[in-house]
């Protein structure tokens, strides 16, 4: 079983990202489970969402404490929340930042930084980075195929909005693939 933990702030679409990643994984033939950390939803407050992937039914219901993957939607969270807590050796951390990292991830963990905010602003006209980071996650983890992600986005968002979100995800996907 592989586990993903998404850190964001209320309003950044972390829960939606978790759901759509699970939908895309399911399309790819995996068993997937997505759920939010059941906090008090307020815009701007730190939130978490989780995804589990397996090739058999997932029974475990606890939150994710030792993730294989971490997505950080907002790098300002790093000083407030221990976002890297419990990440497994060999794991992958994806952080949205336009700066050079001034933080350290644990030993043996791969760090990918991406300026998702700029990509989202360009593609969507809004600093909503969840779909962009889903593209980066698909490229970095291999847990979901880009085609399945595209279908999940088409299913969730109407017409033009889906096209824009797919474009944002694709830019990030290509950028991470290119850097690898």
């Amino acid at each position: 079983m592989k586990e993903l933990r998404i850190h964001g702030r209320g309003g950044q679409g972390s829960v939606t990202a978790a759901e759509l990643i699970a939908v895309a994984a399911f399309e790819g033939g995996a068993y997937a489970q997505a759920f939010p950390a059941f906090g008090v939803e307020r815009r701007g407050a730190p939130v978490q969402a989780f995804v589990r992937f397996d090739n058999k039914k997932i029974r475990k219901r606890s939150q994710v404490y030792e993730p294989d993957y971490i997505i950080v939607q907002d790098s300002t969270l790093i000083k407030d929340v221990n976002v890297f807590l419990g990440v497994k050796p060999g794991g992958i951390v994806i952080v949205n930042t336009e700066k050079k990292p001034d933080f350290k991830v644990p030993e043996g963990v791969r760090l990918i930084t991406i300026d998702a905010t700029s990509i989202a602003l360009k593609a969507l006209g809004l600093p909503i980075t969840n779909t962009t980071l889903m593209g980066a996650f698909a490229a970095a983890s291999g847990e979901i195929q880009f085609g399945a992600l595209e279908n999940a986005l088409k299913h969730r968002f109407p017409g033009e909005l889906a096209v824009k979100n797919i474009a944002a995800a694709k830019t990030a996907y290509d950028s991470v693939k290119g850097a690898a």
Partner: protein, 385 residues
């Protein structure tokens, strides 16, 4: 067909497929997504039902009582404080023998206010006369709605049903669920044909005044119907299994219990985590098994006693507490089922108000039980007491 969707949405789909004629509910977290979806279905013509919007939960269940007494298949959904606002009607619905089905996305009771999960809400109404079904996952949360209407409406039963599933932990989780087609649902669950109903041409009364010469017999009859519900659950649970491959005829589920020294007894979504913990403990050489209770009312007394007869010790995990007693409702029931036996039964109150339950907690509880330590609140933060 298998699809991946949110628990609440899967439940709403199942309810739609059950073709309720009247839906009346009031939104409350974490149940809201269910009634929102049902309101959408009615507005978009996907469900041919009367959706009665009301000012609160007391009215919601009252509307269902009227609809059911008039011969309609009636449905509601609620949780926590909403259920408590309904409480007097909860008793009335059972006393009037109305086969209403209500989803409960289990949530803690205030005060202090908590929107998070435990089972205090439905468990606190265990004596009202409703049948209680508790789901482990969203497949079961979905399927149990079909079984609920079928059992509730059986002429030998005629009792309302709570279909309970853990708020947030199941209601807000995306996972694969096999949702029946309308044709499949109709095969299993035909239209409601009430034995008695309100009819202006042939007037009868429901829920009349009962003087001391009559009241005792009404409660007795309701209890007899609870007993008969066991047979109906076995019969229709088997029928569901024959049709769709998922058999719900057993009121309990046994997991690696055959040769277990330590038995864990629990209900609901924590049983998934418990099963994973048991697999790990088994690898470490500990003979641990699970007895999961799916039907809490009627309580499967004989089945529980039989399934636990061979074990050395029992740890009962409760996401509720009967304050002022020795523990939680499940532990009290298990002790009753085992009355006269010398097997030690220890109760553990955990997970209240949404406190996360992890595999390591289950392992620690098993260790405590082995040492004879129990009948306690598990996982207390000592610095707060």
């Amino acid at each position: 067909m298998m699809e991946i969707t949110e628990g609440s949405h899967a439940v709403a789909e199942a309810v739609r497929l059950c073709r309720p004629q009247v839906v009346s509910a009031y939104p409350i977290t974490p149940q809201t997504h269910i009634v929102e979806a049902l309101a959408d279905f009615v507005a978009n013509g996907k469900l041919d039902a009367e959706y009665i919007t009301v000012e609160n939960e007391l009215s919601a269940l009252s509307a269902c009582v009227g609809a059911s007494a008039a011969g309609s298949r009636a449905y509601s959904a609620t949780t926590s404080q909403g259920l408590m606002l309904m409480a007097e009607v909860v008793f009335n619905a059972a006393g009037m023998r109305l086969p209403i089905v209500m989803s409960i996305a289990n949530r803690a009771m205030g005060a202090p206010l908590s929107i998070w999960n435990d089972m205090q809400d439905s468990i606190s109404l265990r004596d009202a006369g409703w049948l209680h079904f508790y789901a482990e996952d969203n497949q079961e949360a979905t399927d149990l709605h079909f079984l609920a209407f079928k059992v509730a409406e059986d002429p030998s039963v005629q009792l309302p049903v709570f279909v309970c599933f853990d708020g947030f932990i199941l209601s807000h989780t995306y996972e694969p669920v096999d949702i029946l087609t309308q044709e499949q649902a109709d095969t299993f669950l035909p239209a409601f044909a009430p034995a008695e109903k309100l009819d202006a041409k042939d007037p009868i009364s429901f829920g009349m005044y009962a003087t001391p010469e009559y009241y005792l017999e009404f409660r007795y009859e309701t209890n007899e119907a609870q007993k008969r519900a066991k047979d109906a659950i076995v019969k229709y649970g088997k029928e569901f299994g024959a049709l769709f491959g998922r058999d719900y005829s057993a009121m309990i589920e046994e997991y690696r219990l055959d040769d277990a020294d330590t038995a864990i007894v629990a209900m609901g979504s924590m049983c998934g985590t418990i099963k994973d913990a048991i697999d790990e403990m088994r690898e470490e050489g500990k003979k641990v098994g699970l007895l999961r209770i799916r039907v809490f009312r009627p309580f499967p007394i004989e089945e529980v006693a039989k399934a636990l007869a061979h074990v050395k010790r029992i740890a009962v995990l409760d996401k509720n507490v009967s304050l002022g007693s020795r523990g939680g409702a499940t532990a009290i029931e298990v002790r009753d089922a085992l009355y006269g036996s010398t097997i030690p039964v220890k109760g553990y109150i955990l997970g209240l108000g949404g406190r996360d339950i992890r595999k390591k907690d289950i392992k620690e509880i098993v260790s405590l039980c082995e040492k004879g330590i129990g009948d306690q609140f598990y996982g207390l933060r000592k610095e707060l007491i």
